[in-house]
């Protein structure tokens, strides 16, 4: 009995010591500055279809946080962050969000690549009134039927990219289109947007092939495409699936005929596969070799911060992670408080100059949908690269107003009222 008792004492002492060691420095920072840090929960995939992209997203977020902390934080408070793998799985995203809000006391959540995960996180966030930034998931439904008062969407969506390219492609390439669609919410909604644009511009969808997530062998689809002979294949395939597709299309030399339009190519999906497997025309909202003010400096800062990153330059995913985190921290600063409603009202009025965003046109937050409207770029493989990172040739850029998602998905967005959104201040 006495042994048990002394063992309990020893365990309690060890637990107390561990607790002190773990929380000590954190409290020290807090008390030293007299203010509690602002805590962000970074909901980033580290595994699954978007594991690589999730980590790239996080590098951008952490870079923005570091820069604010170097300037003394926000409202005189340091920014601290935690992260947990959301596994490209909606159920995990939901669980992580619940934990970050209720147990970790995160005031703000940032991050998503997969639309299902983003939607799951945003439902939990709305329940608690926690502001959530969907940094990189681009299903039109995210700022459409699945919009929330507490959610802000930062990437261009499927409709933006379709609007920027379909009309010209029908005129220049042909009217018969085949849709190759990842069988989940982003794929469905992106192809739905593409279909609407195709039909509105006199084109015809001859077939839509649904591709289950985690498909690694695309031969059956590529044989079907050969049999149907479309003029254009519009692919809404993401993550590891698009990597496998690109490799196999290149092996078959099907990369020039039919014409390929890949809705959006995330930089982490492109990097590592090399230029040879890059084909067709595709969308992006940023490129590290844009000839615009601030771009070179941003790339340099990224390279200093992430010397050993698997990708040596920032791409659209880390750019979005950085930009949205920066705008969140700026909004808190402008609001002068962490009160969620005050911050939401600041975010709804965001206007960012082209120079500040390192894009060609000014961007603005659509207050009715909480979707950032921004410059949309169309790109293709760069046949005259200046270095090994110069994979894209930017062929055009479209004004936010010309790529605006103005049809049913926009109208489908019904934001909750301020009054029905729980309020908090940390």
């Amino acid at each position: 009995m006495s042994n048990l008792s002394s063992r309990r004492r020893a365990l309690k002492a060890a637990a107390a010591g561990t607790g002190l060691a773990f929380f000590g420095p954190f409290r020290h920072i807090s008390y030293a500055q007299g203010k509690k840090p602002i805590k962000l929960g970074l909901t980033c995939d580290a595994s699954g279809q978007y594991g690589d992209s999730g980590q790239d997203d996080m590098r951008g977020m952490v870079m923005a946080i570091d820069e604010f902390n170097a300037k003394g934080g926000v409202l005189g408070r340091q920014i601290v962050w935690i992260t947990q793998d959301t596994e490209t799985t909606p159920a995990t995203g939901s669980r992580v969000a619940e934990r970050f809000i209720t147990r970790e006391e995160c005031g703000f959540l940032v991050g998503a690549l997969h639309s299902g995960v983003a939607n799951a996180i945003s439902q939990v966030a709305q329940k608690y009134g926690c502001i959530y930034f969907n940094s990189n998931s681009s299903s039109p439904t995210e700022a459409g039927k699945d919009c929330h008062r507490t959610k802000f969407v930062w990437d261009g969506n499927g409709t933006n990219f379709s609007k920027a390219i379909v009309k010209n492609a029908i005129a220049g390439v042909g009217k018969n289109w085949l849709l190759l669609t990842n069988d989940y919410v982003w794929g469905h909604n992106t192809s739905k947007a593409a279909r609407a644009e195709i039909e509105a511009n006199g084109g015809k969808v001859v077939e839509e092939l649904l591709v289950p997530q985690n498909t690694r062998d695309f031969t059956a689809y590529l044989l079907k495409i050969q049999q149907l002979k479309p003029d254009v294949v519009a692919a809404a395939i993401g993550g590891d699936d698009i990597k496998a597709l690109r490799t196999q299309v290149s092996q078959l030399k099907l990369d020039t005929k039919p014409a390929w339009i890949n809705n959006q190519q995330d930089w982490p999906d492109v990097w590592g596969q090399g230029a040879d497997s890059l084909f067709g025309v595709f969308g992006t909202n940023w490129y590290h070799k844009l000839k615009l003010p601030g771009v070179d400096d941003f790339v340099r800062r990224y390279q200093v911060r992430w010397k050993d990153a698997p990708i040596p330059v920032p791409g659209n995913v880390s750019y979005n992670g950085y930009m949205c985190t920066r705008e969140l921290l700026r909004a808190i600063e402008r609001a002068g408080t962490t009160n969620n409603i005050a911050v939401i009202k600041q975010l709804e009025q965001i206007k960012v100059s082209a120079v500040d965003r390192m894009q060609n046109y000014d961007a603005y937050m659509n207050p009715a949908t909480h979707h950032l409207q921004q410059t949309i770029y169309m790109a293709r493989r760069n046949d005259k690269p200046v270095d090994k990172t110069d994979l894209f040739e930017i062929v055009s850029w479209t004004k936010p107003e010309d790529a605006l998602d103005s049809r049913e998905d926009d109208l489908a967005c019904k934001l909750e009222t301020y009054e029905s959104t729980p309020t908090y201040e940390l």
Binding site: R216, T219, A220, L223, T247, K253, W271, P310, I311
Partner: protein, 309 residues
């Protein structure tokens, strides 16, 4: 006739896919059949094989020292052939290390072996991340087997035919090894009754070590062959271990030809659904498993399962 003409390329594709699935499942089948261990590290060993092959095929990524300049100067086809031999040998050695750790679980609840190989899978995958990073790589191929070819008006990847033929060769070699050599007889005897094998003076520990090494090497061969299709990334093995497990259960645990037939069935099912009901293509293999196991719990050719007491 038009329908048949349309169907034929998809049947060919399904059969070739089935052969590739068989290649993936061979090592898994061997270890489960002989050692009664569900090797969840199979996928990680598969990935490791692909990474070793990448180092051997693209020396700039791995063997960058000028000491290996002579190797880098070798023709790609020679390096590819070497990769198909050396990468499995290296992974076989890793497999031996795993088997050493696994020994403590023999004779205990099968769950211990399952958990051990799961842990080994995590360790191998994280080691890959530490050594090669998280980025993707593409396995370069010799010109002779890369590019496309026109068959019956359809474009196919030459490499797919090569990989399918290679899979047939590996299936035949493994069958000859198991059925026509004394070593194969010992392995089969070990699977049937390990106590009798031990009583006959055969070193059972060494037998298990070699079988695990062979299973790991087969996983690596599959990794090398599949890399040009699937790419190379740390978690690529996850894509291999699930169909391998499914095929062994479908074919019947311990049955060589059951596994081969199950692979072909899965390949044809996935290939045809990919063409005619694309959204069902991945699910179809699971539905096939449910359909078969509902009527025959031991799979197509399964005798009394080695997992049954």
């Amino acid at each position: 006739m038009t329908f048949l003409a349309q169907l034929l390329p998809h049947l060919v594709n399904g059969i070739s896919l089935g052969l590739l699935f068989a290649l993936i499942a061979l090592g898994f089948m061997l270890i489960l059949g002989v050692m009664e261990v569900i090797n969840l590290a199979h996928g990680s060993l598969f990935a490791l094989g692909a990474y070793f092959a990448m180092m051997l095929l693209a020396p700039k990524l791995g063997l960058s020292s000028s000491t290996f300049a002579w190797y880098a100067a070798m023709p790609m086809s020679a390096r590819y052939a070497l990769a198909l031999v050396i990468a499995p040998l290296l992974v076989g050695i890793v497999g031996m290390a795993v088997e050493f750790g696994l020994r403590r679980t023999y004779g205990k609840d099968p769950l211990y072996g399952l958990l051990f190989t799961f842990g080994a899978a995590l360790v191998i995958e994280e080691s890959i991340r530490v050594i090669w990073g998280t980025r993707d790589y593409v396995l370069p191929l010799p010109d002779a087997i890369s590019g496309a070819t026109l068959v019956g008006g359809m474009i196919y990847a030459k490499y797919r035919f090569f990989a399918a033929a290679f899979a047939i060769g590996m299936i035949a070699l493994l069958w000859i090894f198991i059925e026509r050599t004394p070593y194969g007889a010992i392995i089969k005897a070990g699977a049937h009754d390990s106590e009798i094998v031990r009583a006959m003076g055969i070193n059972l520990s060494r037998l298990r070590l070699l079988v695990f090494a062979l299973g790991a090497a087969l996983a690596a061969i599959a990794g090398v062959v599949m890399a040009p299709f699937w790419g190379i990334r740390p978690h690529v093995g996850v894509d291999a271990v699930v169909p391998a497990f499914l095929i062994i259960v479908l074919g019947g645990v311990g049955s060589f030809w059951g596994a081969v037939l199950a692979s072909l069935l899965v390949g044809i099912t996935v290939g045809l659904t990919g063409a005619y009901a694309s959204e069902w293509s991945l699910l179809s293999m699971y539905l096939l498993l449910v359909a078969v196991v509902s009527f025959r719990a031991r799979g197509l050719f399964g005798k009394k399962s080695v997992l049954e007491a």
